[in-house]
Amino acid sequence: MWRRKVSVTEMTTPTFRPVERKLQAVRARVWRARAVRAAPWSAVAGASAFSFAEVLGRPTSTALGVGALAVLTTLTVTLGVWRLVRPVSLAWLARLVETRLGLQERLSTALEVAPQNSVVAAALHRDVAARVTAIDVNAVVPIRVARRPSAVFLAALVLAVIAPQLGGWLPRTVPAVVDGDVGVSAASVRSLAELAARAAEDRSDPHLAAVARALRELAQEAESRPDGVVTDAERLGELLTALDRMTANGLPPGLRPADRVADQHTSPSSLSETLQALERRLAPPESVADDEPRGPGLTDRPIVGSPPGEPSAEGAGSTNRATGPVDGNYASRERLQELARQAAAERTQEVGAAAIIGASEDASAGASELAGRGSQELFGDAASVARPGESEAVAVQDDESEDGRRVNLEVAPDAADPITPQDGVVVVGDWQPTPLPSVSASHLPYEYRHVAAAYFLPSQRTVER
């Protein structure tokens, strides 16, 4: 019977492809195994770097970043060096497999000879193709974590855990810059001292007064230096921390500047920034209005509402009932445009004794420049304005209409439940007068006054009380 003779090329080539596929699978497994072997050492490096940073007194977030960087760097470098020293070629993989499975150089030989070279080569390829299907990649390259590096890693982990405590025993790095230039001018410190003194006087707070005195002394000492720069960073940091703590009541823990000061007072630039932040916080509205550069023609006169001399908005707002699409009380577009023109033409003196009674952090003014700005940005400190139960916070979510802006939502400060828009209709809770005064528009920094006069204030009925 006639039988077609099948050439070796036909016979072996298709069956030999699985060998290469299998070797590729082994290659992937080899790299995974290498990564696992390198991982404990990388973790050791990361934990060590973290511990080192902690011992040096770096903030935890910084230490974590350094640790993560050390892990990645070590892993990358280790695998890179491994790749250079022991390249994972197909021939190498073949030798690895045949050594571990006792295949007696079958794979590496088969990789080097073509099946059509000879009958023996053809037989070899057929033999290899049959054997390769039984190769268990996991058995060839078992992935296991070595004991010794794991033990070292555990030790490093323990060190990382105790490192923050260890950092307390060791000298901090602050004294190293005590006598250096911390980049804070005497004038800045004196300015802050004066603000603190005024705040202390207002509050009748002797502790704050003491801090103010200490700041004055520090400023005086700096003024005596030729460069007029504060050099005692540690002392300045302590005073700023104290001042920060005394003036940051009511802030949620995450926002307490005291935390940030404590974290950052090893850095001269942070001292400077902290000082400026405190200065902004302590500056009374009058002083801000006095000290800050103003827009041309802007005065301290009230912007909207009653004529000067009349009582301002304290206690007002009880009439601020719900305003919806039907019975809403809006500023007209003409009025808005007029106010905008007045602001632009620096003729804001016509704006009366209006007041912004408050805004929550997410208050926005639609298309105005205030869009996306919350009261924190407006007033510098959200908590002092929108403090629950005290402030007359109004959340404004609005859109433009022909009549001006439609107020979709106002939130009364004492509303028991969160008020949400219902079917597009404004829902407003009962308005209760609060003991805290609203912030007079005239006390705002000029840039906000300008914007408020143009867009924000006229849209709210409450400001026209």
Partner: protein
Amino acid sequence: MDEHRPTTEDVATLESDLGLLAATKREIASVVVGQDEAIEQLLIALISGGHALIEGAPGLGKTLLVRTLANVTGLEYSRIQFTPDLMPADVTGTMALVYEDGKATTRFQPGPLFAQLVLADEINRATPKTQAALLEAMQEHTVTVAGTEHHMKEPFFVLATQNPFEMDGTYALPEAQIDRFFFKIVVDYPSESMLETILDQTTGAETTTGKQTITPQDILRFQQRVREVPIASHVRRAIARFVRSTLPSEPANPAAVREYVRFGISPRGAQAVVLAAKARALLDGRFNVSLDDVRFAVAPALRHRLQLNYRGAAEGLSVEEMLLELFDAQARAAIP
């Protein structure tokens, strides 16, 4: 070119050939008990196309081994007992005066060398001149008598024996000539259990001589196939480095080599190792050379090629151990 490509039938034939080899090995082992390693080495030398020098004490079955090989392979067998008075013509043959059709004429009368399997018993007892005649035939597979070249019948396989103990009155083979032997097979004493089997088999009423399992044509085909067995580059490299490591003139080589070795391994020795490893792979039913095959071939292929110097001999160093140690060092380096 396609018609030269091996086919599935060729592969099937090869696989059945390997079965023949294994059957041959079993058949010899059933007659010559307890000498499995020597049998394997003998078959390797046979299918590699080399000649072997068998060394062993009297009575260990050297002659039986060769005779059994002749029986199972169907090779024309001839035995030459070498003695000091043996002349070259006694081995190669001579021009004899014969009468044909009433006329006297000379005709070549082939000597006992003209066989396919020649047992040159106690080769070291013949004079160097006679040894040289044999060795020339081994090398060239031809004998020149009276200016006429006579070809040996293929396959041509010479097995020479020598007794390591009775060296008085012998002519030791010079290094250049001993190098022509592909293998030096050492027949060792059998173990106790094997000895029992030998006693049982050889002193009974029936003795076996072995039946033919392969033909001379099969052997010629094997000799061709052996050279086709592929060898991986890292194995080849390990052999080359190993051979280089036996040279006493290389400063980087181990101190023992530089101190105790007189001559290292020649390229012919390296060739013998590779060929023997290839043959061993086929004998083992595989189609490629492994490091194990090479290691197996190192001792029989090189033990008579590595010459220790006087100090090495005086220290009683084992050539085999030194060779295996040197090879293992290179083989380890080849393993990932």
